[in-house]
């Protein structure tokens, strides 16, 4: 009966709010109202409060306002007879509990800074397994997966399973279904996260099994993550609570699994989640709320057996998950991509410096190869013992009526994650620096090297069936064969690179759109040309072309660039017409080669953001893996917040790392010679390209004239350096005006 849920949840919310009020008061007495509070390395302040109420909480004093809001939202207790309606009040109570918990968790970071490990991974040896709020680097990386659909949503698991084996089974089911598992709360001191560790399951962001915290209040990290995604990628403005919550209901497929006895505080949190459209599925006999409306389908479903819970949960949430069917003895899916094979579990290692490992995909004639033929030439798992090494050559031959040589590198690039998706197998690197580790657990389950071929054959057919008809895989494990393949491969790579290098925007009449992110940023349209690769770094022109061939009605559409409106800034009529339509009339036009004048929009998942540094007459750029300050006075996350969501923001542009060394990079504003600041790491990563481009631009040591954080992170700090180095930007025309 819903009345009992309402009664309990409202009671729970009172407890939570009162406790948080006490916590806040004590902290204020101790530290004073000006004491800073935050979730370390995150933007958006306390994200639930910020996104729903629009209040940026930066200090303890700032936390008073949302706590007052929480108190005000607390409804009257539900009477037994002739009670007043309680659904609205129940949802309000839930929301007030979440505000209070978010404040309490922020104070926990202040009081007990080591309680949560600020990291992507847990540190099991030192017992630091609680990760708390995802830092922005993690959030950006993972958030993109929600955007592109690699992760359709998350299961918020509250409490603990009856035993570690059940916990493991449930977690792996979700992993196989590509969902994230966000874990919090405990059942009499037992947590789901610890149960997984006990069952030997790797937890952390990399395996999509995220241990947020041992208390129910850690639920705010899951909801905060969802709201950060909506603000960063969906362009939802802080304080626009209605849009925020509907966005979550429609686009983020999350739900709660309550494992074990549901107490009043859990009930309050579950009620809070209903605001987001996230239902609760419980394994105990709690009152159900089945009529639909606030959530897409049921709101609370009880008594679900553990073995049915994952399947029932996704149905209740209204989610369809297509699971890849790959006939190997291991669990398979993107959730296992980040899982590691550690030294003590290592059974077989190939490549990684000790032996040579190489992978090559090449197009073959239809008559030349046989589909499904997988051959291992040389020793396989059965022929070796634990701890051995082998060289490896993966030779994938594909044929098909729609196949083109240009697609070879695209298919080859799949090898990395396709192998990585297998549980217990790890793949690092690519081309001739590939590195594969196979764990003992995988071997125990019956994995052989032949299965690599099985994976590639099955998945390439599944994902690229539109362009290929036949896939044949040969795995070489004898040194002479591998060396031979390596030589062939290197020749191939060279030819390919040259081909791509020579492509220019002028050389093609068709660009490609990318609206993959429209599931998250509905007004954003990316446009990809040969010399302006996708700003997320994942799609270049060739990828888009292939993607279009594979799925002609998909997110990558050919766009006739049409009449050139501005060759310098890079604007075309055909492109403008397309973006106007595809942005649902929100964006009329933009330029490919400028950040000063109507730059291209971004959804927020860009790899780098370039910004004008007017005092230095130049620009800077920063990648999302750099967490420090920049000379704009903003960190990457703040910059992304300023410009995400599909708006054109003059002075800022999102781009890929690769784009920096492409010839057309901000050529309308003076090109790469404008670059006055980059993080050191990025500079090093792009060293080769920067040197080459410097040469071409007549400034061979450009890379050394670009300042980085070791020089300074303010305009004033870097300007003397630029002057000293005689940076070319200082002599160029004024960048603005």
């Amino acid at each position: 009966m819903s009345k009992l849920v309402a009664f309990a949840a409202i009671q729970g919310a009172y407890n939570i709010v009162s406790k948080a009020e006490g916590t806040l008061k004590k902290a204020m007495d101790k530290y004073g109202p000006d004491q800073k509070i935050e979730f370390p390395n995150t933007a958006y302040y306390l994200p639930i409060i910020y996104s729903i109420l629009g209040i940026p909480v930066k200090t303890l004093g700032d936390a008073r306002k949302p706590m007052e809001a929480a108190r005000k939202l607390l409804p009257a207790h539900v009477k037994n007879m002739h009670h007043l309606p309680y659904l609205g009040p129940l949802l309000d109570a839930g929301m007030s509990a979440l505000f209070a918990e978010e404040v309490a968790e922020a104070i926990r970071y202040l009081e007990d800074p080591d309680f949560y490990l600020v990291s992507e991974d847990i540190d099991e040896t030192s017992g630091k397994i609680w990760l708390g709020a995802a830092e922005d680097t993690v959030f950006r990386k993972r958030g993109v997966e929600f955007v592109d659909g690699t992760a359709p949503g998350f299961a918020a698991i509250v409490g603990a399973a009856p035993d570690p084996e059940t916990a493991k089974w449930i977690a792996e089911e979700y992993q196989k279904k590509n969902l994230y598992v966000f874990m919090c709360a405990n059942q009499n001191g037992t947590t789901f996260s610890e149960q997984l560790l006990e069952a030997g399951v790797q937890i952390g962001w990399n395996t999509r099994l995220v241990p947020f915290g041992p208390d129910i209040s850690a639920a705010v990290f899951a909801l905060g993550f969802a709201n950060r995604a909506a603000m960063a990628f969906g362009g939802i403005k802080p304080g626009d609570y209605k849009k925020m919550l509907i966005y979550n209901k429609e686009r983020i497929f999350a739900f709660v699994n309550a494992l074990g006895e549901v107490n009043a505080e859990w009930a309050a949190n579950a009620a809070g989640c209903v605001n987001w459209g996230f239902p609760t599925i419980a394994d105990t006999d709690i009152p159900e709320i089945l009529p639909t409306g606030v959530c897409t389908y049921e709101h609370v479903v009880a008594n679900v057996p553990h073995r049915e819970m994952p399947q029932r949960s996704i149905e209740i949430r209204g989610l369809k998950v297509t699971v890849a069917n790959v006939d190997i003895p291991l669990a398979y899916g993107p959730a296992f991509e980040g899982e590691r094979v550690r030294k003590d579990d290592l059974y077989l290692e190939m490549g990684g410096g000790r032996t040579q490992a190489v992978e090559l995909c090449s197009m073959a004639d239809m008559k030349e190869i046989e589909d499904g033929q997988i051959e291992v030439i040389g020793p396989d798992i059965k022929d070796i013992k634990k701890g051995d090494r082998l060289p490896l050559g993966i030779f994938v031959q594909v044929a098909g009526r729609q196949m083109q040589e240009d697609f070879e590198p695209i298919l080859e690039r799949q090898i990395h994650h396709l192998i990585n998706y297998a549980q217990g197998v790890m793949h690092i690197g690519q081309r001739d620096i590939a590195w594969i580790r196979v764990g003992e657990q995988a071997v125990n389950k019956g994995f052989t090297l032949r299965d690599i071929g099985v994976i590639l054959h099955a998945k390439l057919h599944q994902d690229f069936g539109a362009i290929l008809d036949k896939v044949q895989v040969t795995l070489y494990t004898k040194k002479e064969d591998v060396d031979k393949l390596t030589a062939t491969a290197r020749e191939n790579y060279k030819k390919r690179d040259a081909r791509v290098e020579q492509m220019t925007d002028e050389g093609v009449e068709t660009y490609y759109s990318c609206t993959l992110c429209q599931s998250f940023a509905p007004n954003h349209v990316c446009m990809v040309s040969p010399e302006r690769t996708g700003l997320c770094g994942a799609y270049n022109w060739m990828d888009c072309k292939a993607s279009y061939e594979i799925n002609p009605t998909g997110p990558n559409q050919p766009v006739e660039k049409g009449e050139c409106i501005d060759p310098k800034l890079g604007q075309w009529k055909g492109v403008n017409d397309f973006i106007y339509k595809a942005s649902r009339q929100n964006v009329t036009h933009y330029n490919f080669y400028s950040l000063v004048h109507d730059p291209m929009t971004t959804c927020g998942c860009c790899e780098c953001i370039a910004a004008v540094i007017s005092a230095c007459n130049g620009v800077m750029t920063v990648g999302r893996d750099y967490t420090g300050e920049t000379p704009t006075g903003m960190k990457f996350t703040t910059l992304a917040g300023v410009m995400g969501g599909g708006a054109s923001s003059p002075g800022f542009v999102g781009h890929s790392k690769y784009n920096i060394c492409q010839r057309k990079f901000i050529s309308g504003d003076g090109g790469l010679l404008r670059m006055v600041w980059m993080p050191k790491g990025l500079k090093e990563e792009l060293r080769e390209g920067l040197l080459r481009r410097g040469e071409e631009l007549g400034c061979p040591d450009l890379i050394d004239r670009i300042a980085d954080e070791t020089v300074g992170v303010t305009e004033d700090e870097i300007l003397p350096f630029l002057k000293e180095k005689d940076h070319p930007a200082l002599k160029m025309d004024p960048i603005i005006g």
Partner: protein, 680 residues
């Protein structure tokens, strides 16, 4: 003992008159008990007269024309007229349909005038409050005012040194108030609120040219057109009837509701009690009766004033009970939880308890016989509005003026207190009283379906689409002494609930439901089909939602509009699986309400009778022809079971048209589906 003199006034000659059987007159035990007491006290009531005095045989058919001194021309329908060519006509040649349509249109004019003139009164107080000419009224619901301001194109912000700032709430109120007051006298253009309707409905009105220009103009035009020798085309008459009715529903009434909400607060769910049992023997009992909240709001304040309570104590009373009757009661109930003594047909009975020290009336539905009955007991009957004075009996008039409202209210309360010691011995208060949960403004429904952050009508629509709720029934209207009191109301409502139709109610139906315990959340389990019961349980609501007074029928229009806007149930009110009815109607206001519902696209059923039977042509136009024009139509069904059945059949037909008559598959979304989603 009632005084001998009063008995004489009533001319009750018991021996000559057939005694009524109270059990046949009402389903309400308190009413039955008081009817027995009336008989015992020798007091005649409307129930007695309904027995002895039958309605006019020709008038009831709607075909008596008394528009000029050449008549009245009486054109009753005979068997002959029904068989051959209908050759009936008045002296001037007016056909039965012209006569019936003119009479019908005049009922609309009267009804619309009543509601709208009520609205005008509120507008005047609203302006006085906005201009701070009255200390006693304040702007209470600022959010609602700002919303209304949007409808009238009144800015809620001002530019101060180039910066947009919130505008002073009283400045907004003055401008809104002036615009509102202008709606009565407007001669051209459109009433502002027409645009509140669903777009398709607005477009249809525009195409049909029925959007009211100004309230008074449309009413006056009916009076002109129905004058001897003017409009003699029943369809054209009803076009004007529709205009005037829309001016009531979408302007006069709707603005009255909105301004009352701004002044006194928008109703949100609250507890209340109902029936004669709310009166207390040892308290000063004051009943406010009529339709406006303006004075009663002040009496609420005055009756809780410590000074007044102390004064009551000096007279030996333990306190002051302020209870309402009719729609004045609904107004103070939904905003303050003030108790209700009863509905229309209980007004005389309240006095028969002998416990009412003052009955204070404003306007509408006030029976003149109250003055006679008051004389039989000690009750002071006090009129307060210049529009409504009563010559009969010892009625006192205390003119209420919004400029010193509280002072007037205190004077009235003091009069009641002073009358307390005059009680006579035979005080008998029925035990009956029921708890209610009331106050479902369309804003409150919105809130309760999703809270502060997710409030919307989507869950309602969703559960209509998935079939848990079959449809929406609006059950409203008066009591009618020609039918068993409250019986038809309750039968229709219970039948609807049994069939999973959620009921929205106002006026005297709401009170009938309240007395029968239908306005409690517990009623859902007892009376509803499983689907509706489950939804009620989820939201924690009664299955019958009390939305306010009869002026507040405009809230039902807005709720219907919100349902349309929430999506999935068509584009117009006429697409909704919904129907409305007034099983025990009696006042001309009901006809105006009926017509504005029909013109808004609602299938509207009336009980008792509709004075159109004398003209089959006009009746056919109302019952069938209008559907082609407005998508809504009239119907007359005396049997309440049949009434409910027809409403449900209509709801089912609409469900079928919407394609929601069959169970739907669960839609599971994948990434591609999400990419197809419209912009957030």
């Amino acid at each position: 003992m009632a005084s001998e003199e009063a008995k004489e006034t009533l001319k009750v000659v018991e021996k000559e008159k057939k005694k009524i059987k109270p059990e046949e007159k009402s389903v309400d035990p308190a009413t039955i008990q008081m009817l027995y007491k009336a008989q015992q006290d020798g007091v005649e009531t409307i129930f007695d007269r309904a027995e002895t005095m039958k309605p006019c045989n020709i008038g009831i058919q709607g075909t008596c024309c008394k528009m000029c001194a050449q008549g009245p021309c009486r054109l009753p329908l005979t068997k002959k007229d029904m068989e051959g060519k209908d050759t009936r006509m008045g002296l001037c040649g007016a056909t039965p349909e012209t006569i019936a349509a003119r009479n019908f249109a005049r009922m609309i004019a009267a009804g619309a005038a009543a509601h709208s003139d009520h609205g005008r009164g509120v507008a005047e107080v609203f302006l006085a409050a906005s201009r701070k000419e009255s200390e006693d009224y304040k702007i209470k619901d600022e959010n609602k005012l700002k919303e209304i301001a949007g409808d009238f194109g009144v800015s809620t912000t001002v530019l101060v040194d180039g910066e947009e700032k919130d505008r002073d709430i009283y400045d907004i109120a003055v401008e809104v108030g002036e615009k509102i007051l202008g709606e009565w006298g407007k001669q051209e253009g459109e009433i502002y609120y027409a645009k509140r309707a669903p777009k398709a409905r607005y477009e249809l009105w525009k195409k049909l040219d029925v959007i009211p220009r100004g309230i008074d103009r449309e009413i006056v035009e009916i009076m002109h057109r129905t004058h001897m020798g003017v409009d003699q085309d029943y369809e054209n008459l009803m076009k004007q009837g529709s205009r005037a009715a829309l001016a009531d529903g979408w302007a006069g009434s709707m603005m009255a509701t909105d301004m009352q909400d701004v002044l006194f607060g928008t109703p949100y769910p609250i507890h209340g009690e109902i029936n004669l049992g709310v009166l207390k023997k040892d308290h000063v009992n004051i009943i406010v009766h009529g339709h406006e909240p303006l004075l009663s709001e002040m009496i609420v304040v005055a009756s809780q004033d410590p000074e007044m309570l102390q004064y009551a104590a000096t007279k030996g009373a333990k306190g002051i009970v302020l209870a309402g009757m009719c729609c004045t009661a609904n107004e103070i109930l939904v905003r303050h939880g003030m108790p209700i003594a009863g509905n229309y047909l209980q007004q005389e009975l309240a006095l028969i308890t002998g416990a009412v020290d003052a009955m204070v009336v404003d306007v509408q539905c006030i029976m003149e016989n109250l003055a006679n009955i008051a004389q039989c007991y000690h009750t002071k009957l006090i009129t307060t509005n210049t529009r409504c004075k009563i010559a009969s009996g010892d009625t006192i008039h205390i003119q209420f003026d919004e400029h010193h409202a509280l002072e007037d209210a205190k004077r009235i309360v003091k009069t009641a207190i002073d009358n307390f010691p005059n009680r006579k011995a035979e005080v008998l208060i029925p035990k009956e009283k029921e708890m209610m949960v009331v106050g479902f403004s369309y804003e409150a429904i919105n809130y309760h379906l999703g809270g502060t952050f997710r409030g919307s009508y989507t869950p309602l629509n969703d559960n209509i689409i998935n079939g848990r709720i079959r449809g929406i029934g609006g059950v409203v209207g008066c009591n009618n002494a020609r039918t068993m009191h409250d019986s038809a109301h309750l039968i229709v409502v219970k039948e609807l609930l049994k069939n999973d139709v959620i009921v929205l109610t106002t006026g005297c139906n709401a009170m009938a439901c309240g007395k029968a315990g239908l306005l409690t959340p517990e009623a859902a389990r007892i009376y509803c089909g499983p689907g509706l019961a489950e939804v009620c349980e989820t939201v924690g609501i009664p299955p019958v939602l009390h939305m306010g007074s009869c002026v507040d029928n405009s809230r039902i229009l807005m709720a219907a509009t919100e349902v349309v806007k929430a999506g999935g149930l068509g584009n117009d009110i006429s697409d909704l699986p919904a129907a409305g009815c007034a099983p025990e109607w009696m006042s001309e206001k009901a006809i105006s309400i009926g017509q504005y519902f029909v013109a808004s696209g609602v299938y509207t059923l009336f009980g008792v009778n509709l004075q159109v039977e004398g003209s089959p042509v006009f009746k056919d136009y109302l019952f069938n022809g209008m559907e082609k024009v407005f998508g809504g139509k009239w119907d007359l069904v005396e049997d309440p079971y049949e009434m409910a059945r027809k409403m449900i059949a209509h709801i089912d037909a609409k469900r079928k048209a919407l394609g929601i008559d069959k169970a739907r598959e669960r839609v599971l979304m994948d990434m591609a589906d999400r990419q197809k989603l419209e912009a957030a």
